[in-house]
């Protein structure tokens, strides 16, 4: 089958690939581009491990066909650290022991980033709602919720 071209901005850099039509964005990111931060969990839109940010919106890369992302701006967790300095969310996840096996972490961080981008000072309920599409089988969620609230506080202190 003829390959189709796709082109998008991933974590600030231009990417162009020839792919098989119908390939999911998750597979293009992981297998073609080598960004393995989005994880393939259920491939059913249930677990949230593959979450990425497309044009400012949280999306599931396992259910998104890469061809529909032509011209889009995509952010993944691997693009958050700047010059070796972790993003406040990444720092907070480490500090509050919000990762155990770590498989859900990139998806959680993407969901949390979208929340903090729109709601810099979220309530606990806001955080629970924002993470409600992401499944974690290790932590019992509480450390993750605390991590997001901690990152929000760190952001507001930096801004002050």
């Amino acid at each position: 089958m003829a390959k189709v071209p796709v082109q998008f901005t991933l974590n600030g850099s231009e990417k162009a690939e020839f792919i098989d039509s119908g390939t999911t964005l998750l597979n293009v990111l992981r297998d073609k581009i080598g960004d393995t931060s989005p994880k393939g969990g259920c491939h059913q839109g249930t677990c949230g491990a593959c979450s990425v940010i497309i044009d400012g919106e949280l999306r599931l890369s396992c259910l998104t066909l890469a061809e529909t992302c032509n011209g889009a701006t995509i952010t993944t967790t691997s693009g958050l650290a700047e010059g070796g300095v972790l993003h406040p969310l990444q720092r907070a996840f480490l500090d509050t022991f919000a990762t155990q096996c770590g498989f859900c972490t990139p998806g959680m961080i993407m969901a949390a980033k979208v929340l903090l981008d729109h709601t810099p000072d979220p309530s606990r309920e806001d955080v629970v709602e924002a993470l409600s599409g992401n499944i974690c089988r290790c932590t019992g969620y509480e450390p993750i919720i605390q991590a997001v609230l901690t990152a929000a506080r760190a952001n507001s202190q930096n801004a002050a």
């Binding site: 119908g22 839109g45 999306r59 599931l60 259910l63 061809e67 529909t68 969901a111 599409g133």
Partner: protein, 262 residues
């Protein structure tokens, strides 16, 4: 397996391409890409249209028209769609709501399809290039539907009540869901009732017997008793890992009662 996606500027061209065997329409991907990921080999090709009319929300007077490609997230944050936003928020988590479309929800099998339920209670009209179909007829015949849904339209009803019962908060799959649109006369008696049920069949259905039993009654314990007794009439609840058909049938009157009295 590669799916070969074809993109068309117009719905007309997409409709033509959709005539090929094994071809499905791609909305947000939460149903068809999911099916393909699961190994559904009946899906061999996908078609979509980028016609901007599919993404439009029009509210004028009391009339509403929502394009089939409009996502649940857009409805949830629309200032003029009132209680319909509650039904949109009941769908999935934030990422799913950014993807799942109005058109797709019409085809979502139980336990999904909470938004279509609200449209059924609103007695919406489903629009395609081939014409207009009342939603109840559309849902009943959806397995054979081939023409691309372009929009749904309905008369705005601020009296829409919506309830999704799930075991996990805030995002859980439905045990059952209920949408109700009532009109009451000046003396408080019910003059018209539409009750739509989710998970009480393989797709959203109307509780016709309960609707009839509500007419002329007031919304009190005694007034709704006959409607609650008839709520499950003609339903065939699903059994899945969330709940058994027996359990769904047992708790339906309880939740319908709370929604009517709430």
């Amino acid at each position: 397996m590669a799916l070969a996606l074809q993109t068309f500027a117009t719905v007309k061209d997409a409709n033509t391409a959709l005539k090929s065997a094994g071809t499905r329409y791609l909305g947000g991907g939460t149903l068809v890409v999911r099916a393909a990921n699961e190994g559904d080999v009946s899906v061999s090709g996908l078609v979509r249209s980028t016609d901007p009319a599919l993404s439009a929300i029009e509210v004028s007077g009391g009339k509403v028209r929502i394009g089939a490609s409009v996502t649940m997230a857009r409805i949830a944050r629309h200032p003029e769609l009132g209680s319909l936003a509650m039904a949109a928020r009941a769908v999935g988590g934030p990422a799913v709501r950014n993807m799942a479309t109005v058109g797709g929800n019409l085809f979502a099998p139980a336990p999904y399809g909470d938004f279509a339920l609200a449209l059924l209670a609103l007695d919406a009209t489903v629009n395609t290039d081939e014409g207009q179909t009342p939603i109840e007829t559309f849902l009943a015949g959806r397995d054979d539907s081939r023409a691309i849904v372009t929009s749904v339209s309905f008369t705005k009803a601020d009296s829409l009540r919506f309830l999704k019962v799930s075991r996990v908060k805030p995002k859980g799959i439905s045990v059952l869901s209920i949408a109700v649109v009532l009109e009451q006369a000046a003396d408080g008696t019910v003059s018209s009732a539409r009750i739509a049920l989710g998970c009480m069949a393989d797709r959203p259905v109307r509780a016709k017997a309960a609707e009839k039993a509500l007419l002329g009654k007031t919304l009190g314990q005694d007034g709704i008793a006959a409607a609650l007794a008839a709520a499950g009439e003609g339903t065939a609840p699903i059994t899945d890992p969330i709940a058994s058909a027996w359990y769904r049938a047992e708790v339906l009157p309880v939740h319908l009662g709370r929604l009517l009295l709430g």
